[in-house]
Symmetry: C2
Subunit: 243 residues, 2 copies
């Protein structure tokens, strides 16, 4: 599996993804699932991927036009005038890649599927965040649902539901995401470190802080062990039941 | 879906189940998923059910031998000499019910499946707790894995992983289960109130406290709102990241 979250804040966007890829439990690899397309000051688009790795890598390669000779490369998502059209292009590419594999007589549904989160900003418009389905259609995050999760979403959801605030700082949002990822990693072998983190500050149209968080990252360790202790005291602070 | 937990403590067993049954999102009903077979002082067996409601109700009816005239009823699990044999009988019944439906040409796998938790004690032996698969085989809870979840297990798992202690009191265990159920209910429409709670005190061979917890239960409300607040302060107590 995978676990990725894209989150809309008042001050911008935050993205986090894990890096574990597995085919069965005895074939585990590390692959990056976060990709950024940037033209500094004009646009910055980040894509998070979950699902079949061959599908998602193919989608990213096509978007980057790596299929062309280097001189001819000019990714069309770098020219689309709006984030909506970027999402359409990404969705269309995803659907085409899945369809191309399925045409060869394989089952279309689970096997080649992938789901993507696409977020970013093009100068002159506000930042937008989309969740793209394998069918190529998509939904956009709004005030009511300001974040999207893909992959192994359930373990890490309760803390997001309880602690997310649209006006939280980037620091608080990163802390929240680390808690959500740590809960997932603790419960599910198919989600694993290192994690990729990226911030996007509204209006910058340029990649913000990008960091890879390893297992020996002291802040991650502090969150992971601190959250265990904090949860226990939160639990102890609840009133006792009378049975 | 469903959410049920059976938990082994040093002082006995604790069971909790929700009551929501749904076929699609527009066909929601309330059904009990906790069943107790008791011969006071000699044995007490509790079964929690998740999966196809027709399958689980049929299994319980056969175990209760409701298929026979009242005078002839004598559930065989009330005569099995050990909890292991009780688990075998329940597993065999479950497999037969699933097979009987599947024989009629329907797909066997997802459609008619069910998973059960069986726990209890027969005088002279220690309490035991089993998880029974649709195939009829089963595993037993031990010191390393002292609780079983069935149904919609993921949302409520992180807090169990972090806060369970084998020597916790019944009061603390009920609090823990309520937090786990509340997290699940908040995140998933297919798990819903009221909840059924039952305690089993080691050595009693009789049903302990049994309670139905409704949405307006003041203790559940206190836990549900208190946990939101407690989680927030636990979250705030974590060190801030420097970005």
């Amino acid at each position: 599996m995978t676990y990725c979250v894209g989150m809309r804040l008042e001050r911008g966007l935050v993205f986090m993804s894990d890096t574990r890829t597995n085919a069965g439990v005895d074939n585990i690899s590390t692959f990056r699932k976060m990709f950024t397309f940037e033209n500094q000051g004009e646009r910055c688009i980040t894509i998070l991927t979950a699902g079949n790795l061959a599908t998602t890598q193919s989608v990213i390669s096509i978007l980057e036009e790596r299929t062309k000779a280097p001189a001819d490369r000019k990714p069309s998502i770098m020219e689309a005038p709006t984030m909506f059209q970027v999402a359409q292009l990404v969705g269309q590419t995803l659907r085409e890649v899945i369809a191309a594999n399925s045409e060869e007589g394989q089952r279309a549904d689970a096997a080649f599927n992938a789901t993507l989160i696409v977020g970013g900003q093009i100068a002159g418009s506000p930042p937008r965040l989309f969740l793209i389905y394998p069918e190529g259609n998509f939904i956009e995050a709004g005030e009511d649902t300001p974040y999207f999760q893909i992959g192994e979403t359930k373990y890490g959801r309760p803390i997001l539901v309880r602690a997310y605030e649209p006006d939280m700082s980037f620091e608080a949002a990163v802390k929240l995401l680390l808690v959500s990822f740590d809960s997932t990693i603790k419960a599910n072998l198919s989600v694993g470190l290192p994690l990729d983190l990226q911030l996007y500050e509204e209006g910058s149209c340029a990649r913000g802080l990008s960091r890879r968080i390893d297992a020996d990252d002291p802040y991650f360790q502090a969150i992971s062990s601190g959250w265990g202790t904090a949860l226990k005291s939160a639990f102890d602070s609840l009133p006792d039941v009378e049975l």
